[in-house]
Amino acid sequence: MNGWTVAATATLAAGVGTAAWGVATGPLRRRVVAQNLSTSLACPALLLLSEGYDRPSYVDLALLLALLGPVGTLVFARLLAEELAADPPHAWGLTYAVAGFGAAVVIAVCVAAGPSRALVKLLVVGTLLIGGNLTASRALSGGFAGSRRG
């Protein structure tokens, strides 16, 4: 164990654990937000693990999650649009807090990596992570007009 893996353990236990609880209980508007936040918390955890294990090739995992996590949330935003339109989620404070946490982790990992080719990949992951997180939240709270079908 080193500092990075300790931070990853804390992120998983506190962050992803809470998200897993949130997705299993409560009204739909809470569940979709918890699903979105679970991916945007697991992605920094994967970055921390890649640094903790000293394996730069593990960054591919975070890259894929940053790309596909928001796609998964868009699936729910699109196909549950009618139910969500009736009871839209309002969790912007939480969303921004998680986005800020993700940004902090990306910056910390970037500083540890130093200027190199790996840095470019990390910055791409960070941009996708935060952009994807915010866009997915936007999509959940009324991104789709909820037409009859299509």
């Binding site: 294990y53 394996r55 730069p56 090739s57 593990y58």
Partner: protein, 115 residues
Amino acid sequence: MSVFPYLVAAWVFLVGCYGLVTSRNLIHAVGCLAVCQSSTYVLLLAVGYRDGATAPVFSDLKPGSRPVVDPVVQALALTDVVVGATVTAVLLALVLQISKLHGTVDPDELSELRG
């Protein structure tokens, strides 16, 4: 403590089976089957783990510098994750056919229909 991962795999499998048996909706049952599938990956990877080792991927690692985990079980699990998803798709296609033919996806109602 050295059997905890195996016990988790067994728990996930049994929970999935419980869901399959008690399910009132065939789509939910397919989801439970996906849970059962994931237990096998947990078991396989737990068998292949080695304390303090890292992945046997040498693009960023000098061969021999660190102990590595067992790649055979990983190769087994890897292909099955993707193939399992397509098998899930076939099952969902069957559920859609059942729903079209009988207008319900509740297994209990379906067995009543058969008489």
